[in-house]
Structures are given as C-alpha cells and as structure tokens.
Symmetry: C2
Subunit: 284 residues, 2 copies
C-alpha cells in the first residue's frame, strides 16, 4: 500500500503520541514534530507508510534519547493478555470450529496498537470478535491452505497481541516460525516480547531483521527472506505488515483490524472491520 | 488560548481537507502539505491557533489558486439553515424563556464547522441542544448583561450558523453590530454570507478587518476596534473566536460547541459540549 496524503498528518500525530510517551519535556516534543515536519517534503508517496513510520520513531529516539517509549505499556499488555489466555484457550478448544475461533481471537488481539489508536477495550473487542461478521472473510481458503501446509511463517505485530497469536499457532499445529521486529518500535513485539508471551513454547521466534513497524522486504535479513520465500503458508498480522506486503506476489493471509479510513478504502472493508484476506483472491 | 502541540498535526489535517476541497490535483495538494510542514518549526506556541490557521489557508490559496474552496458548501449551509429558520423562530417564540432557547439554538448552529469537524447532523444537533445541559452555563450573567445593555457586538463564525445567530440577535432586541471575516477563510462567514443569511435585516454587518478564522485584535480594523472597546456586550461565536480572544480582559460571552480535546481541556468542559461562558467568571 502506498502512502496516501491522509497519512501525512497521521505521521505527525504518531510522532506526538510517541514523543509524549518518551518525555514530558515540551521543547523536546516540539523538536520531534519539527524534525518530522522536515521529512514531509521528501516522503516518497510510492513507499508504504511503515517506511516513513521508521523515520518518525527514529526521530523520537534521536531527540528524546528513549529507544523504547512504550516498554512499560508493552509489558502491561502482555501481562493482561496472559491473564486472559487460559479462558480464551478453553473458548477455542470448546468451540465447534477451533481454527475459526482462534482466527477471530487473533484478529481481535490486533486492536492492541499504539500506532493507529491509543485507546481500546480488549475484552469487549474479543466478545464482539466471536460473533462479528468478518469484513473480508477468506476463511475457507485459509483453512484449506493450512490443512495442506507443513510449514508456516507467522508475522507478528503488537506486543500483547502476541498472546493471541500464540493461541492461533497452537491451534494450527504446524511447524511455525514467528517473526518479529528487529528493535523496539511503537508497541510492536521484539523477540523479548514474543518470549514473554510464551510463543517460544509453540514456535521458533526470529527477528525479521527489519526495524520498521512492518515487513519491508529489502530491509529484512537473509535468514528471514529464505524462510519467507520457501515456507508453505505466510500469516501476516496487523495493518503495518499489510501496508508493507500488500503488493506482494506470493500467497499471504492477512489478519487485521482495519485501523483507518485510508486502509479501509484500500482494502474495500469498513474501518474497524476484521479482515482475513487471502491476497491471491479478489476481495469478497 | 495558546497553540498546543496537539494543534500541529491538526493544522496539516485542515490543510489537507481544504486543499482537497480546492483541487483534485494530488501533486498540488502534496505541495500544500509540504508548505504547511515548512511553517511548523516557526509556529510560535504563544500564538493563538487561528494565527497559524491563517497561514495554512493562505497556503491552500497560493498553491491551488482557489480563494474560497468552501464557497458551494457555504451557500448550501445557508440555504439549509434558512429552510429551518421559520420553524426555529416559532420554537423560540413559543418557549418559556425565548432568550435561553435562542442561545441554545445559536450554540447548536456552531456545529457547522469545516475547520474542526467535517461531518455533522444539524437537525439532530438542534434537537439535542434544546434539552442538553450546557457544559458551562453562565446564562444568568448573560441575561443580566443583555438586559442592561444598549449595544451588542456579535462576532460571527461559520456560514449557515449565521442564520441561527440572526435568531438570537432578533431575540436580544438590542442595537447590534455583527462582525465577520474580512475575506473567505474555511467556511467562515463574510459580509456576503451574513447578508445572504438575512442578518442585515436585524443588525449592522461589518468586517472585523481580520483575515484569520478568529478575531486577532492586532489584525482588526480601527472601526472594529472602536466598536469592540466601547460596546456594552460582546457575544463571541465559535472556537476560533474563543481561541483568539480567551485571554482578553474586557467582558465577552463565548458561545460555542467544544470542537476538540485541547479546547475542552483549556475550557474545563467536555469535547462536544455546549458552552456559554462569561470570561469574567471562573468556570462552573
């Protein structure tokens, strides 16, 4: 997905939110905004938004000196999700179609996102997710692909959401590799966050090698790219990964909550909607 | 009210909205955003936001060549409000306290604002306004001041809202001067818009001399300032006028809908709330 003009004010909004999380020094926060404003004329609109988000969060880090402003938030999100885990595990196991239920819970978990939204109600979200119709529902294709697959590459997104990913990976029962960000960015999961979420019990956790809040392939490690190219099924979580991989040729299943009007228009799904999209199928 | 850091992404959002109203040429719209981004490091945070909004809408005009991108919207708003006028006039006249009812309708009319919000439902707004508790309610003081006054200066805000202002001015039954923007900016009323709304039937319409979406006194005409300083009562409509006059010493009654979280915090009223504030009184 390219950068739309609507993304530009949003980069500044994200810069402000992250800078406020990093420091209370208003003059430093203003310097972050000034620096991000300075990028704007040079943003290539052909780039996916996570490419610019990388620069935005880099500016926050450079100016405030804080490399992980959402560290405490991330820990809390993981702890909270782990508290919900046993109950959700039972919900999945007791359901008529455990895979479908685990998919819905994994998509609902994508609401934990400090990039696009700053407030959310996770329990209400999960409750809704269990009954809400998906805005794009390629579950049949997903199920078929998973059944045939031996190996899965699962692209993580936010910390906390990771616990719900774990639930889906446990339900897949495949040889799964879970790839996360190389360094802290927004509240996205790193290897440390994935391990705290217990994903290492059910998948091999690796870094994508990329420091953006998305999977930008030419910034990923050789190890990651080898897996990405040879694995049977790729599951991609969240809007950042969607934004950076939406034009890809290889089969990818995108699981996400639609976070803004621009992504909604691009996907042909409503804002706030839950999406399970097979990128080899036309929408619908 | 000073410029808060939260206003900065909002300036870009407003620039985008106005540029889209002016042109469909994406490259011109991008140039508007680039130009506004270029202002950001130089924005004095001590300035009220309308001072910067003036530059934002100036950039839209310079780059797109369109001086009044909301012209058609403004005309529609006025036509629509004029259709509602006869019914609302009866509501005022038939009510127990016509002044109070006219005040509520005038505040509700402030929802017609293309600066802060881009969507609104005017009829629902008026219905709510007639029963909703005001977030700040200095009506007793307002009523007392109006009863004693001979002359009123009424500071207009948006086109369409003007028709509701007319209703309040008719109810005041005072020697009233209605001041509007010197040139088109956002959907704010100019002399032409005020006359289309029929305000000239009940008040003398003048330009404030100021081209910002607010009343910035050092940009106003001598004629306006003479009136402002000598009149018995000043009624100020909308958030833009509030932002630019909130620190003033002279008595002003601010009538507005609270349009954003920042103004809400500044006023001590909830976002979306209706405010009638006597600036000589503490909030409450």
């Amino acid at each position: 997905m390219k950068t739309y003009l609507e993304c530009i004010p949003c980069f500044l909004k994200q810069a402000l939110f992250a800078a406020r999380a990093a420091t209370q020094d208003e003059s430093k926060i203003k310097r972050v905004l000034d620096k991000v404003a300075g990028f704007i004329p040079d943003i290539p609109l052909d780039n996916p938004p996570p490419e610019t988000a990388r620069l935005v969060y880099g500016a926050v880090q450079d100016i405030t000196g804080v490399s992980d402003p959402f560290k405490a938030h991330k820990e809390k999100s993981i702890e909270y999700a782990l508290q919900l885990y046993p109950k959700l595990k039972s919900v999945v196991l007791d359901s008529e179609d455990p895979l479908r239920t685990a998919v819905r819970i994994a998509i609902a978990g994508n609401v934990i996102d400090f990039g696009a939204h700053q407030r959310f109600d996770l329990e209400a979200e999960i409750k809704d997710a269990l009954k809400m119709e998906l805005a794009i529902d390629h579950y049949a294709s997903f199920k078929q692909s998973v059944e045939k697959a031996r190996t899965v590459l699962y692209l993580g997104d936010n910390s906390g959401e990771t616990v719900f990913d774990r639930l889906l990976i446990e339900t897949l029962q495949k040889d799964t590799i879970y790839a996360v960000r190389d360094v802290p960015i927004i509240n996205d999961a790193t290897i440390e966050d994935a391990v705290k979420s217990g994903i290492d019990k059910t998948a091999r956790v690796i870094s994508s090698g990329c420091d953006a809040p998305g999977i930008i392939l030419n910034r990923c490690s050789r190890e990651f790219l080898d897996i990405y190219r040879t694995v049977d099924v790729v599951v991609s979580k969240g809007q950042g990964n969607f934004e950076s991989l939406s034009e890809e040729k290889r089969g990818i299943f995108f699981l996400l909550k639609v976070k803004c009007a621009i992504a909604a228009r691009h996907l042909g799904a409503r804002e706030g909607g839950m999406v399970l999209k097979d990128n080899r199928l036309l929408v619908g």
